[in-house]
Assembly symmetry: C2
Homo-oligomer: 594 residues x 2
């Protein structure tokens, strides 16, 4: 599988883009005409740079508004094309993308289009150049890949083929199975883009909201299967117009883009039983082994966990690290970090084969995390998520044997808890990258989304979870000008009222809930008055849906982390999104008061 | 004219919002239920705070999903309403917004809806509360204000009326003239929102992209006229759901919101020949009197202007300020500033009546700029635009007599120039505020928009200009994570080639244009080879449209400002947008090289 990317996907100047593409491991690039025009480097310099970096110039693009025009207009296009053929020779490109006419077409006739594209191809042949004709979703007359192919077939030139772009085909809801009727060697190029489901005009959707494969709603696995079955043997190339990726760091975005292709190839290979591009099996997360809070001085967290009813299970025998536990919930307090502020630094996932998970992560280009391990200690492989949170893996069969490295702790406490969910946070510009990371590397699956008004603006969230729902990682997306939402961990217990009562008796500082909230609860749910007073007295929040009930409370925030305790009654599967605005307001208000 | 705003428009907590609304000069507020629920302050405290701040609680909102339901569901709604009536009494609100049913309606029958709304109104009457029923654009059965009014009429309760929202009516393209058939005293409330023309689903458009009046595409003047003609005498209230305004500084956004209502009232009064809300006539900009660059040491700018062919017209007799001129173009270099980096600090507009312009600006809440003026000097009133640029006014009849305060300059140079345009820059979150400022305070008119790919992302621009096109102020909108585009001034000359040649001979540092750009020009325009070599040799850029041609060049950037020289041939009215990506790339590349 050869990989490629259009330079238009990335920010910066052309030279920077090429360096980033090479560093990310792409085999080739589509050079955007405008990127070359804006560069001080000559086409020859760019060609030599690509050669040195090991990048093939797979295509030069775009050339617009050729076919379906009158003779005079076509003559101008031929002249324009000759000038671009010269530039292509200089830059070392032998394939030109020609988009279906949007602006100048006046003749809706396949024969005319075929004759003109044929003449263009003949002119290109003199330069050893091939032409890939693509139906834009908003082409004046040609907006369907099947019609583009009929025209190419009719023109019948060896150096004229089609370019297929997943966006232009899937955004219009065209059936991609027809691709298999095109001979593979006449598909000159393949461009891949995903996109979210948006109800807006095609052009805006395409120009601003495309995503890398695996981040949107398109069935790209099915799409790619059709293309490969047709016999296409060229590169998989990304062409993703996205306002965000045009702004974000070019090196990081290129790596992110490259991961999306690895993911897509693997997924397609798995789905079809093919070998090419196939990685080891994804390691489904079976459970959360631990969560870790890092900070220079975590004594407040020790106290907090004690107040919640966790038991101290000891100090690590070689590191400034402590372990607290309650049932299946294990919390590591790690003081071997440089940042003074306590934050959620890591979590561990139990999988069938931790080594396989790590190998797969490496193949997906996830940055490996190094942690010093002493002789006799269990070594857990780990990678860093885009927000810096470290993700560790251990074999489920090992039954968290690393916990034996902690010494001097007390006995297990009676509290039975598990980690209900881990809430991580992203700036809007890192969100799509995070979704891809969590699905491809951490093998989690996209679940529900929500949008919550907070005092700093709308907070969007995307839940990632294991298929069985045991592992849940809601990701919160901060508005562009807002601070990142604070990461937190929620523990699930059987009786949140009892836990709250005991914690209060031990002096735990709850997040105080506004009294108006309880008046609103009364209006919305008509609760039993005694129950409402219990909730009010303990600063508990409440939600209900068709399936069940949710009762939960929050602790104060300690630096950059807070904890939540939840009880799920019957089949409640949500996260109390209706209560999130109240929580966000309360936290901000306390923060302002200092 | 009473003014009001819904608290949902603004960021922050409820108390902050109320303070900001009062500071901006609003007479009242619509309190959003969720804002109260998230506040630690009791309803009584909020009522007292509003009283102290002089804010009327005009409405409490929203109450959803009442009408068109089965009896059991309606009974629940009545119970829910009773709880909210109590809260309303405590917070001092006597009007409740009821939105047409979206979620629970199963009965599409006006009689049922009227009976249920009537019963709700009767329950409300016991608390002295009135109900304003509003048709949401996406209501299940009721999505048209005319149907909402028919139902209200049928229910026939004195405390049941309609709420009209410009978004819900205009977004669906419903004819607002029918409003005049509703008795004015049955229109209980009026919500105003503008919106851009967007081709997307109504709900997303409404929830994320509303704008304050004057910033979008709706004819709010016409809309408001119908409402006032109907006899409506309540407040004009803003309800603008916008992702951006939810994030931006609450005080600034409230002031911005308030300005939009002043603008709308004035515009409506002018259009209809009414007195209420009418300000003095807008002072159309007749010309640009001067542009000013500020900085601690501007000697490089002196040299630059000399190289361009400007003449030094003297030093100000009482300030560290120098004047350069060429024809009608006057450039002030102001070293009486604290910031070391040279930036475009101000420009002066010639108007028929500078005092009237300043009075109008004050009525629109524009922040006044103070500048020390010595005896015998001409005093020019000024305000600050949202990006900090100062806008001065002087009477056209005064013929820039202030220039006489500069002494010791040389004779006028032969170069004849004028200011073609002034390019200012905004972060995306300040853009709508800037559009409103430029149209309401500076009396400029929105003209063309463009979208230009730059190395930091897409740069959007909105041209503001006088009706005759003599004054042009393109505003560039920076992507969220990008640095602000550098502000610049463009001078128009008759022969840009001659100016460029002379400037080059005097040692001016041009922005070097990539050679690839000229190869692309050759492909696009097939220019005469000699002309192409002239352009290439002088680093000139070129554009052509149906009307004419545009030839221009840029200087190096000095701190935070650069200059442009343009020649417009025949009827070319643009700004060379096709060349902007090349310019942005070149500037960034030079910046990186340092």
């Amino acid at each position: 599988m050869r990989t490629s990317i259009a330079t238009v996907c990335l920010s910066g100047g052309l030279v920077e883009k090429l360096h980033a593409c090479a560093a990310a491991g792409f085999d080739g690039v589509e050079i955007m005409d405008a990127d070359l025009v804006g560069a001080y480097e000559s086409p020859e310099e760019i060609r030599e740079l690509c050669r040195r970096l090991g990048l093939t110039v797979e295509m030069f693009q775009p050339f617009r508004d050729v076919e379906g025009v009158d003779d005079a207009t076509f003559a101008q296009s031929l002249r324009r094309a000759e000038a671009k053929f010269e530039v292509m020779e200089r830059v070392g490109a032998d394939l030109l993308l020609v988009c279906s006419n949007v602006a100048t077409a006046t003749v809706d006739d396949d024969a005319v289009a075929a004759a003109q594209l044929g003449a263009l191809a003949d002119a290109a042949a003199a330069h050893g150049i091939r032409i890939a004709y693509e139906a834009l979703a908003w082409g004046r007359y040609v907006d369907d890949y099947r019609r583009a192919w009929r025209i190419v077939e009719q023109a019948d030139r060896p150096n004229l083929g089609v370019c297929l772009d997943s966006f232009h085909i899937l955004s219009r809801g065209h059936d991609p199975s027809g691709i298999e009727e095109i001979p593979g060697d006449r598909i000159f190029f393949l461009q891949l883009a995903d996109a979210p489901e948006l109800d807006m005009d095609l052009l805006s959707w395409s120009r601003h909201h495309r995503l890398f494969p695996g981040e949107g709603a398109f069935d790209l696995t099915g799409f790619l299967s059709h293309v490969l079955r047709a016999g296409y043997a060229g590169p998989l190339s990304l062409e993703v117009f996205n306002d965000t990726f045009r702004q974000t760091d070019v090196t990081r975005t290129a790596a992110h883009a490259r991961r999306s292709l690895t993911w897509l190839a693997d997924r397609t290979a798995h789905a079809r039983g093919w070998d090419d591009g196939r990685l080891g099996d994804a390691q489904e997360a079976r459970r959360i082994d631990f969560v870790e809070v890092g900070g220079a001085d975590l004594r407040e967290l020790d106290e907090l966990l004690d107040q919640l009813g966790f038991s101290f299970r000891g100090r690590h025998r070689s590191k400034a690290v402590r372990l607290w536990a309650a049932g299946d919930a294990r919390v590591i307090l790690n003081e071997e970090v440089r940042d003074a502020t306590p934050v959620l630094t890591a979590f561990g996932l139990g999988v069938d084969d931790a080594r396989a998970a790590a190998d797969r992560a490496a193949a997906l280009g996830a940055p490996k995390v190094f942690r010093r391990t002493y002789a006799g200690e269990r070594e857990l492989p780990a990678v860093a998520a885009p927000d810096g949170t470290q993700v560790y893996w251990d074999d489920v069969a090992a039954a968290a044997s690393w916990a034996g490295e902690f010494e001097g702790g007390g006995p297990a406490a009676p509290l039975v808890a598990s980690v209900d969910h881990i809430n991580v946070a992203y700036a809007w510009q890192d969100f799509d990258e995070a979704v891809l990371f969590m699905s491809s590397v951490a093998a989690l699956h996209t679940d529900s989304t929500a949008e919550v008004p907070g005092p700093h603006g709308l907070v969007r969230s995307q839940v990632m979870r294991s298929l069985d729902g045991v592992v849940r990682v809601p990701m919160n997306l901060a508005p562009p000008t807002a601070p990142l939402p604070t990461r937190h961990v929620a523990f699930r217990v059987d009786d949140v009222v009892a836990v709250a009562r005991a914690a209060r008796a031990r002096g735990l500082r709850f997040l105080p809930v506004p009294g108006n909230y309880y008046d609103d609860l009364a209006a919305r749910f008509d609760p039993d008055p005694g129950w409402l007073e219990t909730l009010r007295g303990l600063d508990l929040l409440y939600d209900r849906d068709e399936a069940g009930e949710f009762v939960h409370f929050y602790t104060h925030t300690f630096g950059g982390v807070f904890l939540e305790v939840v009880e799920r009654r019957a089949g409640y599967e949500g996260y109390g999104a209706a209560n999130a605005p109240v929580r966000l307001s309360a936290q901000r208000e306390l923060d302002r008061r200092g």
